[in-house]
């Protein structure tokens, strides 16, 4: 079967050319047709989206956009809906994640975009979300109005299912004409969502497009990069640097680089009753999306002095990873991924030979844990269910161990008492951690999350202020002036 990706309003379907990419996993395969636009088509599309956004989207009340998104999400949450069925069928083949992971991940993720959650998104960034619809009085006097960009370009990356919806929805909420570039590793969800929106509210459907080009190469890219007012991009630092270099200086660039998540487990969380549960939650965070998410934990710092020692806790986590492997098989790894896991394991094995590390899990197991007793700096693992557990005397040591890697920090999972949660969060915040989650929720950020510590909506808009004095001065020119 061939699945056509993208959403290209206004372009003649007959005139499109397609690139075909095959994906296979779990004994099935699918061919996906990715749109390859000519430079003129790219230009026409940018102009159309910009024009439509100006005359349609920007004139709509935010409430209408929220309703349309809510309706689209409701359909995607409905397991009987044909599109949801298609997503559950195709996403495992394309991304390699097992069916249950995809199904559970989709549901919990999509739930963050229902109407109440969307309102929370808006409330999170705007004291008065009505500034998106018209001038609103401000406390200091005068009036304020927020405008999203005319043309917002999203450059997506990675295989985490439906990740693209996050920025796409943020763009729509601020009424930005939006063009999204699909990630080859998950080229489906954004296009499906856009088409669904177009079906629900055809006017909104005219204001967004989902495209594809081969990263960094095609002539089409230049058109998009030149046309956009704001570019929101995901990828590694090399990709982001290359992209930034191609943008006009006046274009606002909002990069989201790769990150390493880590966990902190306090001694008070380590008794014989709590430790096994905690181990299950940690194992869940490790397994969900195979540590491909920016929020996924790669290292756990475990405090000594609890009833359960770090070494015992490592065994609990190992047991849970083994148990999860029965329910959720690990994705089949590409050669480079296997090599990364093997390379990491090999290096840990060397440490283990020196007696300074303990390696749990056989080479043939779909998971590995290494446990070290000496404090160690934050470092990435081999991903795909490979975890390093570092025993520390006191969790207060951890900020110093992760601080050198500020640009890679984002999510920390913490299991500690309320007082220590705040105390640790204070120190972690200082060194660049932007999100504290409980174990078990590291891969599922809440609605309205400040991604990488930024404002998802506020960063997109520009404010227009009517100063109080301007309002006062205008009084002098009123027809009814005395």
């Amino acid at each position: 079967m061939i699945e056509h990706a993208g959403h290209l309003p206004g372009l003649d379907p007959e005139a499109l050319s397609w690139r075909y990419a095959s994906y296979s996993a779990w004994g099935e395969s699918v061919e996906i047709a990715l749109p390859a636009l000519e430079p003129t088509q790219a230009r026409d599309l940018c102009e159309a989206v910009r024009r439509n956004a100006r005359v349609r989207l920007k004139q709509m009340p935010t409430a209408r956009i929220v309703d349309a998104i809510d309706a689209a999400i409701a359909r995607l949450l409905d397991r009987e809906h044909p599109l949801r069925r298609k997503a559950e069928h195709l996403l495992p083949i394309v991304t390699g994640y097992d069916r249950e992971t995809v199904r559970l991940g989709l549901t919990s993720y999509l739930k963050t975009f229902r109407r109440p959650q969307l309102l929370r998104f808006l409330a999170e960034d705007f004291a008065n979300p009505a500034v998106l619809d018209g001038f609103q009085p401000t406390a200091k006097g005068g009036f304020l109005r927020a405008h999203g960009p005319d043309l917002l370009l999203h450059v997506w990356a990675g295989n985490v299912p439906a990740l693209s919806l996050w920025s796409l929805i943020c763009g729509l909420l601020v009424k930005a004409g939006s063009i999204g570039k699909l990630a080859s590793a998950e080229p489906l969800t954004a296009g499906w969502f856009a088409s669904l929106l177009a079906e629900i509210d055809p006017e909104i459907g005219q204001c967004l497009a989902i495209v594809w080009w081969k990263g960094g190469e095609e002539a089409g890219e230049a058109r998009f990069l030149k046309a956009a007012d704001t570019v929101m991009a995901y990828g590694n630092n090399a990709t982001l640097a290359a992209l930034r270099a191609k943008l006009p200086i006046t274009t606002r660039f909002l990069p989201h680089g790769h990150k390493i998540g880590f966990g902190l487990i306090a001694r008070e969380a380590l008794d014989s009753r709590k430790a096994p549960t905690l181990a299950r939650l940690a194992a869940h965070d490790v397994t969900r999306y195979e540590q491909q998410g920016c929020y996924s934990p790669q290292m756990l710092f475990v405090e000594r002095g609890g009833r359960v020692s770090p070494a015992e806790f490592a065994r609990h986590v190992a047991q849970e990873l083994a148990a999860i492997a029965h329910r959720h098989s690990r994705r089949e790894l590409a050669a480079a991924e296997s090599a990364a896991v093997a390379g990491w394991r090999g290096a840990q094995e060397m440490q283990a030979m020196g007696g300074t590390a303990e390696l749990l899990g056989d080479p043939a197991d779909p998971w590995s844990i290494v446990h070290v007793e000496k404090p160690e700096d934050l470092s990435p693992t081999g991903l795909n269910r490979t975890l390093k557990l570092v025993a520390v005397e006191n969790l207060d040591e951890v900020p110093a161990l992760v601080a050198p890697y500020r640009s890679f920090l984002q999510t920390a999972g913490i299991a500690a008492s309320p007082a220590r949660l705040f105390q640790l969060s204070e120190r972690l915040g200082e060194i660049g951690v932007t999100r504290i989650a409980p174990l078990g929720r590291m891969t599922a950020p809440e609605a309205g999350w400040h991604h990488d510590g930024r404002f998802s909506l506020l960063d997109l808009v520009t404010m227009t202020e009517i100063e109080q004095s301007a309002e006062a001065a205008s009084e002098g020119f009123a027809p009814y002036v005395d």
């Binding site: 990356a157 990675g158 295989n159 985490v160 990740l163 590793a185 995901y234 990828g235 590694n236 630092n237 090399a238 989201h256 790769h258 990150k259 390493i260 998540g261 999306y289 195979e290 540590q291 491909q292 998410g293 920016c294 996924s296 790669q298 790894l333 590409a334 050669a335 480079a336 991924e337 296997s338 090599a339 990364a340 896991v341 093997a342 390379g343 990491w344 394991r345 090999g346 290096a347 094995e349 060397m350 440490q351 283990a352 030979m353 020196g354 390696l359 080479p363 043939a364 470092s379 990435p380 693992t381 081999g382 991903l383 890697y405 640009s407 890679f408």
Partner: protein, 361 residues
């Protein structure tokens, strides 16, 4: 178990290397004997083998002798004799994390015999000597480089007296090299250029800038090794060998690639690069496997995995090495496809490569 001394091992290996060929059973017997010796005398390797549950008592096949990942040479001192007793220490050029892998040699007797016999057979092909131009610093400049030793030995034992090294403290000495190449071209006597793959790139570039090219006499040879390692532009195999052929008039079939590493004591060769990814093979005292990197299990012929080399000549350290090179077993040897690395993260988590790149700054 009879106690074996280093002298006995060296003698047994020299005899083994002197054989015209070795059957699977002969190789296995020698490999097991050597494994027992390394297990007893190389403490970190013993711990490694024990961790894998492999001891001389349980291992019955050479394929089950545990292969040490190549990174271990950075972290561990893998030597059967005290490292301070080594007459030569070869170090890798890799500067990942600033740590270099080391191989300790208490004697180069086996290393040299292995190198020469195989070099004569695969490169010299029955010739006694050939005039050589060497595009790599000599042993004085790089005393810890196994390649400098290799090329030094090649020049002394198989080069004519007027063979020269053309890389000095100031890099490639074009002013000396170009007249020599012109002279060789005019003389009608075959000439051999040997060096690191990346040394050939600036030479080809310089010739192209000057609009020059040579037609070295028939029978001339080129030997390159090691790839580009970020030291020059990266060229695809076709671009590289077409370039060599055009610059020096040496047909691609006479351009031989040597594949070796600091962590071994023997080398592999192809029989020319008329086509890309030619079959490579080693001498009868080396055997190669291709394994699944995760499980270490042998992959069937034709399936791509990671290369494991079992080099009996590397007696003082560890004979079985798990490389980071992608390969495929084919009739007559294996095909080599460069390093196994690349983007390990398909998502937005940081993977090791990106992290290291950032740490290096």
């Amino acid at each position: 178990m009879t106690v074996v001394t280093q002298a006995e091992i060296v003698e047994a290996l020299l005899d083994f290397i002197a054989l015209p060929d070795a059957t699977e059973a002969e190789f296995e017997a020698m490999a097991l004997k050597l494994f027992a010796w390394q297990f007893r005398n190389n403490e970190p390797y013993k711990r490694f083998a024990l961790q894998r549950g492999r001891t001389p008592l349980t291992v019955k096949r050479w394929r089950d002798i545990p292969a040490v990942p190549i990174t271990a040479f950075k972290d561990l001192t893998l030597s059967c004799t005290p490292p301070e007793a080594a007459t030569h220490v070869f170090m890798t050029s890799g500067t990942t994390q600033g740590v270099r892998g080391r191989s300790y040699h208490p004697t180069l007797a086996v290393w040299s015999r292995s190198m020469l016999l195989n070099f004569r057979k695969r490169f010299m092909r029955g010739r006694e000597r050939i005039r050589m131009g060497i595009l790599f610093p000599d042993e004085k400049a790089l005393p810890n480089s196994s390649l400098a030793h290799y090329l030094g030995l090649a020049r002394r034992e198989c080069g004519t007296p007027d063979s020269e090294v053309f890389i000095g403290a100031n890099g490639l000495d074009l002013d000396r090299l170009l007249p020599v190449l012109a002279e060789a071209e005019a003389s009608g006597e075959p000439y051999a250029l040997l060096g690191a793959s990346y040394s050939f790139v600036p030479l080809m570039d310089a010739l192209e800038r000057q609009g020059r090219h040579f037609a070295l006499p028939e029978g001339s040879l080129i030997l390159d090794t090691g790839g580009f390692k970020g030291q020059s532009r990266e060229l695809g195999p076709d671009e590289f060998y077409d370039g060599l052929s055009a610059a020096f008039g040496v047909p691609r079939a006479a351009c031989i690639n040597m594949y070796g590493m600091t962590e071994l004591s023997s080398q592999f060769y192809d029989d020319g690069n008329a086509v890309s990814h030619p079959v490579k093979s080693g001498p009868h005292w080396v055997r190669s496997r291709v394994v699944d990197p995760l499980t270490g299990i042998d992959l069937p012929q034709g399936q791509r995995g990671v290369l494991v080399h079992h080099d009996l000549a590397h007696f003082n350290s560890v004979s079985a090495i798990l490389t980071e090179d992608a390969g495929e077993i084919v009739p007559g040897g294996f095909k080599l496809f460069g390093r196994v690395d690349g983007e390990a993260s398909k998502g937005c988590s940081v993977a090791v490569a990106e992290f290291l790149a950032a740490a290096r700054g």
